[in-house]
Symmetry: C2
Subunit: 244 residues, 2 copies
Amino acid sequence: MTSHLRNSGSHIALSPRVEPKLTLADELRIRLADDIVRGFLPLGATLDESQTARRFQVSRTPVREAFRELAASGLVDAKPHRSTLVARPDSERLNAMFETMAELEAVCAGLAAQRMTVAERQSLQEIHEQLRVLSFAGNPEQFHEINEQFHNAIYIGTHNNYLGELTIATRKRVQPFRRAQFRNLGRLHKSQAEHHHVVEAILREDRAAASAAMHAHIDLVHNEYESYAGSTLEGEMAGRLRTG
Amino acid sequence: MTSHLRNSGSHIALSPRVEPKLTLADELRIRLADDIVRGFLPLGATLDESQTARRFQVSRTPVREAFRELAASGLVDAKPHRSTLVARPDSERLNAMFETMAELEAVCAGLAAQRMTVAERQSLQEIHEQLRVLSFAGNPEQFHEINEQFHNAIYIGTHNNYLGELTIATRKRVQPFRRAQFRNLGRLHKSQAEHHHVVEAILREDRAAASAAMHAHIDLVHNEYESYAGSTLEGEMAGRLRTG
DNA sequence: GATGATTTGTACGTATGTATA
DNA sequence: ATATACATACGTACAAATCAT
């Protein structure tokens, strides 16, 4: 992954509208957010402005602006006159984020059950079927990808874009703690079974059941993380890196 | 309200730790967010960087950073190479925000019913009583102030800080559309009655009832806005200012 | 549609505050 | 505790894009 953002001399501008003309700050924000949620940047890591600027061959100005936006979205922690750090929520806050995600996803599933169009319901079923196949193929990366599509399909089905955005933002903030989930092959099939209850309820247009099934699903994701983090003691260890 | 942020020469630094040393960008963000939610800055207004910089006697750099953060929080709309505008959601998005607020507030009330400490329940009752008195005194500004305290008390009662932050953020984004609410004196008493159902359910530790009562309350706030906006045709008119 | 005026985006230098020896 | 080193905060100059004519 060579990281040169600076595209010296735009080449091959065949079709117009290919580039929405993003600013460097925007590209940096997207790139850094991706690095954080993918776990490429470790939690609690120091994000040096000059260093980051050199890394991407830009000045510090767009880097600063990207950091500020990431701070506003909660992915990094920035205090005045102090270096920006990749956010590392303590266990209380992490629990709060998981719980909130469960509530948000539950509301989404409930609304989707009431509002999805025929086409949207069919699309959801197709994605669900893809996941079933993948749960046997056992490719964690691919399963994760389609799993996101599954949840996105439900957000769209709510016909409430704002709610979808809030939910996605929360998902992103929790993602670093869900990453290892699908390493466990057994988890793929369990996830599949949980999804099945959600899909079934949505197709029945049963709001309460869809909501409850999704809530249960996210709670299990949370539990899965806790048992993983607890077993590896990663949470404890990470917690003592700076505070101890 | 003279607007000089520049405090030339810090004076009287008696006790240490009085000033958390906010940056200019932070102060600007807070100030501008306040101006927006209070309706001081009209929806859709253009926020010129240089102009704003001159207004506060600072350079464009902190202004830009403040704009970026406001954009991340959704209060302003910023596209690359275009002036930043005070966000003016269309009716579909506004409905989505109201609906989401109702769901979030409902979840908060439900969790609070289960989790509030004795002290927190008592505090909630006291605030509720203050509102009852104010609903007769009929001071809209003061009622609004204590009303925010009422809802904040519930967020605290959830013991889920993240959820509280999301809910507050959503409340802020909708606030410009709730401003005129309490001009209507009758609304104060209706609001009071709705709150009563919420408080009662919370004190009974009845999660479902608290959640439902709060949901109904916010829905009525939404309806109140719609009938107001509809009657003044403000929504329609504003909608045609730029798009037409 | 081209050109000038205006506004935003980026780079960089200096000031200021923080952390370390 | 003072001084030094270092990172961030801010101002200014210039480049690039948009808007108005």
